[in-house]
């Protein structure tokens, strides 16, 4: 009895395994290298990183590069869409019945080999999106309302795919004439109707200048083909306090001569309002630099890594001239002998 039960169990297991193996198709989570509970943001990050690595242009000597890249695109297309992801989680790849047209979400900041599709495409729209350094530090969301013309069916027919063709007409025995003629196909009529929808762009932490966020299909329509894309191109604005170099931030602080000699304590207010505390009890020379690790910008690929804040000090000398008594006082106080060294400072002597 037990043996029979065992056999049945085995068969069931085998069947289950077989069906899952069949149903599974590709493991999109594995392809992207993320866990099943990864957030959309993690998925986007993973896709970006891998797309840069796996792009066929960068892997010319790998015969499977195209396939790997196609897998990556398919994985991203499914896992970045809530509905599709749900379906995929339940039924596997084959459970996604809709034949979504093979729109490889091409990244735009790779000099990509343009997919040679014969389908005509509408124009792309590139919007320069200005962001502040505060937004680069903490991230932010920008809502936009996209009003665009959409092709809708209309009664009747229209001419489409018009092209010039050479026609040969016979004028007589052995005499021919070649003429250029405009030839068009007949297509169902369309008209353009304006529609509106709200889109949301995320300004991710650590985003760099010129990075683009594409919205596939939100560009200009093409009557005979597909719409182009809408791309937001990040433009990071200058900041009055901080200067960005990669993930590091640079700033300058002016201190008084007294503070430079005797020391000081101060706070620098950072981009998100938190304070960076600075204490100095030694002499601070003009041009001296202080490195504060972890107080720079978050790294775009891993927000847990931060750059540093580099503070350069300059010294404000007293404005009023000193009288003789003060001068004497200072000579006695500092007890620094006369130096008066003459040298070529511009050539490193």
């Amino acid at each position: 009895m037990a043996a029979k039960g065992m056999n049945l169990c085995n068969v069931c297991c085998l069947l289950l395994y077989a069906t899952t193996a069949v149903l599974a198709g590709r493991d999109f989570y594995k392809i992207l290298g993320v866990s099943k509970s990864a957030s959309i943001r993690d998925i986007k990050k993973a896709y970006r990183k891998l797309a840069l690595q796996l792009h066929p242009d960068r892997n010319q000597d790998d015969p499977q590069a195209q396939d790997k890249f196609a897998d990556l695109g398919a994985a991203y297309e499914v896992l970045s869409d809530e509905e599709k992801r749900k379906q995929y989680d339940m039924y596997g790849e084959d459970g996604l019945k809709e034949g979504h047209h093979s729109s490889h979400t091409q990244l735009d900041f790779i000099p990509s080999s343009q997919q040679d599709r014969n389908i005509p495409r509408g124009n792309d729209i590139i919007l320069d999106l200005e962001v502040t350094l505060e937004e680069v530090y903490s991230g932010n969301f920008v809502e936009v309302v996209r009003n665009k013309p959409v092709a809708k069916e209309a009664p009747g027919k229209r001419k489409c795919n018009c092209r010039q063709e050479m026609r040969t007409t016979q004028l007589g025995p052995g005499r021919f004439q070649m003429t250029q003629e405009m030839v068009c196909d007949e297509c169902p009529n369309v008209k353009l109707v304006n529609e509106e929808r709200t889109l949301e762009v995320e300004i991710e932490q650590g985003v760099r200048d010129e990075m683009e966020y594409p919205f596939i299909g939100e560009g200009e329509p093409h009557i005979d083909g597909e719409p182009g894309d809408l791309r937001f191109r990040i433009k990071v604005l200058k900041h009055p306090v901080f200067e960005r170099r990669g993930d590091d931030l640079y700033t300058n602080v002016t201190i008084s001569l007294v503070e430079a000699l005797v020391g000081f304590e101060m706070d620098i207010v950072h981009l998100d309002g938190h304070k960076v505390h600075i204490v100095r009890d030694k002499i601070t020379k003009p041009g001296a630099r202080m490195w504060k690790k972890g107080e720079g910008l978050p790294n775009f690929d891993n927000v847990n890594i931060r750059g540093s804040l580099i503070i350069t000090f300059d010294v404000d000398f007293p404005q009023t001239q000193l009288d003789d008594q003060q001068k004497e006082g200072i000579r006695n106080l500092l007890k620094q002998g006369s130096v008066q060294k003459v040298y070529n400072g511009l050539q490193g002597y």
């Binding site: 509408g122 124009n123 792309d124 729209i125 590139i126 919007l127 320069d128 999106l129 200005e130 962001v131 502040t132 505060e134 937004e135 530090y137 903490s138 991230g139 932010n140 969301f141 920008v142 809502e143 936009v144 309302v145 996209r146 009003n147 665009k148 013309p149 353009l192 304006n194 300004i203 560009g219 200009e220 329509p221 093409h222 009557i223 182009g228 809408l230 604005l237 998100d272 309002g273 938190h274």
Partner: protein
């Protein structure tokens, strides 16, 4: 009877409050033209969109030409609304009536511009696209003339040039080859029915909230 009456009154006032608050919501920034938005400008008298392209005038200044086109699906009709030179406007902030702005052609990065040259077809003032990467000169600045406080998306407005005081206009003259059918866009000194424009297609940026404080994350 009295009770019913008061209940009716209560419901009515509640509905009114609801409508009023949702109206307030509708009247929000969604209906304004904001700084940084990409828009197509439509001349209401001649039904053409403001347009530019990499084609220079054959006369006058020889700068990049600005025309009016009938197509609704050309990306070369997109213009970005930006602040004055050295005075950037806050992204997403609604543009006020009377505010000075620059209107930058998206594809070529040149600013809507006018100057004392004659337009080729009608002998009005030539309007061109000038500058590089959004930076030109002081003749790139226009003020939005409208009623009310802010420039509304579905409102017809006029654009008056700061510097020569002309209004952006179309009067219907058409070009021949190579831009057959496109209308001449020029500056006219008087406000009239030819210089009304409204926004059509575009990407309208909504104001953002202040970025989150890092400690809250």
């Amino acid at each position: 009877m009295e009770v019913v009456g008061t209940i009716r009154g209560l419901i009515r006032s509640l509905l009114f409050l609801l409508l009023w608050s949702s109206c307030e919501g509708r009247d929000s920034e969604l209906s304004y033209v904001t700084c940084g938005s990409l828009v197509k400008l439509f001349n209401t008298r001649h039904n053409v969109r403001l347009h530019s392209h990499d084609v220079k005038y054959g006369s006058g200044s020889g700068q990049q030409s600005v025309t009016g086109v009938e197509n609704a699906d050309d990306a070369n009709s997109y213009w970005q609304i930006r602040g004055k030179p050295n005075n950037p406007c806050l992204r997403g902030a609604p543009i006020k009536c009377g505010q000075a702005i620059r209107i930058t052609h998206m594809k070529t990065g040149r600013n809507l511009h006018t100057h004392h040259f004659s337009s080729p077809l009608s002998n009005n003032q030539e309007v061109s696209a000038f500058g590089e990467n959004g930076e030109g000169d002081d003749l790139d600045v226009w003020t939005v003339q409208c009623e009310g406080i802010h420039w509304e998306r579905d409102e017809a407005v006029r654009f008056k040039h700061v510097g020569t005081d002309v209004f952006l206009s179309v009067t219907g003259e058409q070009y021949g080859h190579p831009i057959r059918g496109q209308r001449e866009v020029h500056g006219m000194s008087s406000p009239n029915q030819h210089n009304w424009w409204r926004t059509m297609e575009g990407v309208f940026i909504q104001p953002s909230q202040e970025p989150l404080r890092h400690d809250e994350l």
